[in-house]
């Protein structure tokens, strides 16, 4: 049983996320915001080394991602696919499965949604097209997770590696599909057919924000409640916390494993669909936003709590929209966001460790 050992440590059973005294809340706030501040300072040092004024950079990012009306709308729009990804990862991580194949699942979902929607819209009513695109993306992503799921469930093969491998494969396959199969014959640039703007998901009120944001919010809250408040969620968490105990409790662990993968990948595939039918309209060749790895830290930062994840997804969106502007204006590539996110991940882990030690010392 190779996967058990590695996964057990990451998923605490106390899913409710604490609560309690004001002091407790203050402590949580400290070990969440503290690492972020430290990370901003450390990443600022990287900028300094590169000869860029960190304050100017961060100021620009906040201005473009949060304070300008257009930027804020873009940020909220960006949240839609990210929320689906976060929801998918929450399911997997809480059940102790390391689904690191988000990028492949996301892209394949996006590409199949992009390929089918413009054709379906010619024969089906608009709303049905959107539903169909969602279903197709979900199913495709689920299928893509099937091999790692079966290998983990019945052969005990570590899912970290298999999902990563399938992700590399999926990203390449998505590119092949765009360039060779789903090519729009009307354009010279390799891309899929474009879904007309009026057939996409409606925008919210008078803004440019996609209504996909609402779907994302509803989904992640539903997933959170499913994992924390239902018997099914409890089963999954038991599998995550201690697979051997789960077997003794009479749970069908292999079946639950496959279910977890299907749920996780399906939600991530939906993220791909919402990005296409809500925002992009088509997929260009070599398009890979690589959201998958960026969302993993968010889910950890939120301690796999859906409500907290919403806040951190917002933060990541600000960073990523602001970072894209900064890349164009200040010449700092988007890769800087990756560096910042990774530093956050490390400082967060260290903060949790220090908090743990501090608590032990106080109890002793």
């Amino acid at each position: 049983m190779s996967g058990d050992a590695t996964s057990a440590s990451a998923t605490p059973l106390d899913a409710s996320g604490g609560g309690g005294s004001a002091r407790d809340i203050g402590r949580r706030l400290l070990i969440t915001l503290g690492p972020i501040v430290v990370s901003l300072v450390l990443a600022g040092c990287v900028l300094l080394v590169l000869g860029i004024n960190p304050l100017a950079y961060y100021g620009y990012v906040v201005d473009r991602g949060l304070l300008s009306p257009l930027g804020l709308q873009q940020t909220l729009t960006r949240m839609a696919p990210l929320l689906f990804l976060a929801a998918g990862l929450i399911v997997a991580f809480r059940a102790g499965m390391w689904n690191l194949g988000g990028d492949g699942q996301f892209l394949l979902g996006a590409v199949t949604a992009a390929a089918s929607a413009p054709l379906l819209v010619q024969v089906l009513p608009g709303w049905l097209t959107l539903v169909a695109a969602f279903v197709i993306a979900t199913v495709v992503a689920m299928i893509w997770s099937l091999i790692p799921a079966l290998l983990r469930a019945y052969q005990g093969v570590n899912e970290i590696i298999t999902t990563l491998m399938m992700s590399f494969l999926g990203v390449s396959l998505a590119n092949v599909l765009v360039k060779l199969v789903f090519l729009d014959p009307a354009t010279t640039v390799p891309q899929t057919r474009t879904l007309p703007v009026e057939d996409r998901l409606p925008r919210l009120f008078e803004t440019t924000v996609t209504s996909g944001l609402l779907f994302g919010l509803v989904t992640i809250i539903a997933v959170h409640l499913m994992m924390t408040r239902t018997a099914f969620g409890l089963k999954l968490r038991v599998v995550g916390a201690n697979p051997r105990a789960a077997v003794h409790a009479g749970l069908n662990v292999p079946l639950l494993t496959v279910t977890v993968f299907a749920l996780s990948a399906g939600l991530i595939g939906m993220g791909g669909a919402v990005d296409i039918v809500g925002i992009q309209g088509n997929v260009r060749a070599d398009w890979n936003p690589a959201y998958g790895l960026a969302v993993i830290p968010v889910v950890f930062l939120a301690r796999m709590n859906g409500f907290a994840a919403i806040g951190f997804v917002f933060l990541l969106s600000v960073l990523s929209i602001g970072g894209e502007s900064a890349a164009r204006r200040l010449g700092v590539p988007q890769n800087f966001t990756m560096v910042l996110v990774s530093i956050v991940l490390i400082t967060l882990a260290v903060a949790e460790y220090l908090d743990h030690r501090f608590n032990q010392a106080r109890r002793a």
């Binding site: 590695t6 290998l151 093969v157 570590n158 298999t162 560096v339 996110v341 882990a349």
Partner: protein, 311 residues
């Protein structure tokens, strides 16, 4: 350009297979040691990219390939030291830290490369080969297998060195125990943390070396994200090899052959899109995992930080 099966073509195919296999071999051997000692090193991709970047810098500015390998290995060890500090000493989650290191170093090297070389993309000259006397004269196999940079032979020698370490030395036993039953090693008076730290540092050095070879000899230049999953392939090799260095070599050659075959097909005029080529090694990996995955046994205490007296 001769036919598909001409001698020069076959030689080029085999030569390419070896060149593609060496980084995987080095990464696989490195990962094997840290897995044996109970540390699942997902950060190996980050160590490799750090090695590729530092190795390229070293070779580019000094003009010496050997110095490039040294700086590459040093960068890998540096990253591994961070990993050892966080995951072995502090006992933080190895997967989280591994992802963070990979993500951060991919981003950082891309960033540094952008500010240094984004306009020029400098290349290194072709690596100097050391032909092995007599053997290099064999038709087809001679130029394919025995006309490589000296480091290639050293990498193959490392396989046998590892076999010796695991089978014949106390260190090999200690490493095994650190992965299977760390508490027993502790009782025997050997420091588990120190043993595991040594294993992780070794992994970093090997991964860094592999990255440097990939950039300097394989490609002749550094481009962002150049490793493209080679480190992860190393993890798979280590998993499938079940602690045997020779199997890592065999696996690396198979994957290297897959890579070389598709590149060679393209050279021979068979039009294969690059995206399809990139899929081939991963397809091979999945096929191997589906076929042999069940037998890919891993040490009992893999991924679990050691804490004295904990149950």
């Amino acid at each position: 350009m001769g036919g598909f099966l001409s001698e020069t073509f076959l030689a080029a195919l085999l030569f390419g297979a070896i060149t593609a296999a060496i980084p995987l071999l080095l990464a696989g051997l490195g990962e094997q040691m840290s897995e044996k000692a109970g540390v699942l090193n997902i950060g190996i991709e980050g160590m490799m990219i750090a090695g590729a970047y530092a190795g390229f810098l070293g070779a580019y500015y000094s003009g010496s390939f050997w110095l490039g390998f040294a700086t590459g290995a040093a960068a890998g060890i540096l990253v591994a030291a961070l990993m050892a500090l966080l995951c072995v000493r502090l006992g933080l989650n190895q997967i989280v830290i591994g992802i963070a290191l990979t993500l951060g170093l991919e981003g950082l090297t891309a960033l540094l490369h952008h500010f240094q070389f984004s306009r020029s993309y400098p290349r290194l000259p072709a690596a100097q080969v050391t032909p092995i006397p007599l053997l290099a004269e064999i038709p087809v196999f001679g130029p394919a297998l025995f006309r490589h940079h000296l480091i290639v032979y050293l990498a193959v020698a490392a396989v046998f060195a590892m076999i010796w370490v695991y089978r014949r030395t106390q260190l090999g036993l200690n490493l095994q125990a650190a992965g299977d039953k760390p508490a027993a090693l502790d009782v025997a008076g050997i420091d588990v943390v120190r043993t595991r730290t040594a294993a992780v540092l070794f992994t970093g050095g090997m991964a860094g070396l592999g990255g440097a070879y990939l950039a300097n000899v394989g490609a002749g230049l550094f481009i962002p994200f150049i490793t493209n999953g080679a480190g992860f392939l190393g993890i798979v090799l280590a998993m499938l090899a079940r602690g045997r260095p020779l199997w890592v070599l065999a696996g690396a050659l198979i994957f290297g052959g897959c890579l070389s075959l598709t590149t060679a097909a393209q050279v021979a005029g068979i039009n294969v899109p690059t995206d399809v080529i990139q899929m081939v090694p991963f397809l091979a990996v999945m096929a191997m995992l589906v076929l042999f995955g069940r037998r890919a046994s891993l040490p009992a205490a893999l991924g679990i930080p050691y804490e004295r007296g904990a149950r």
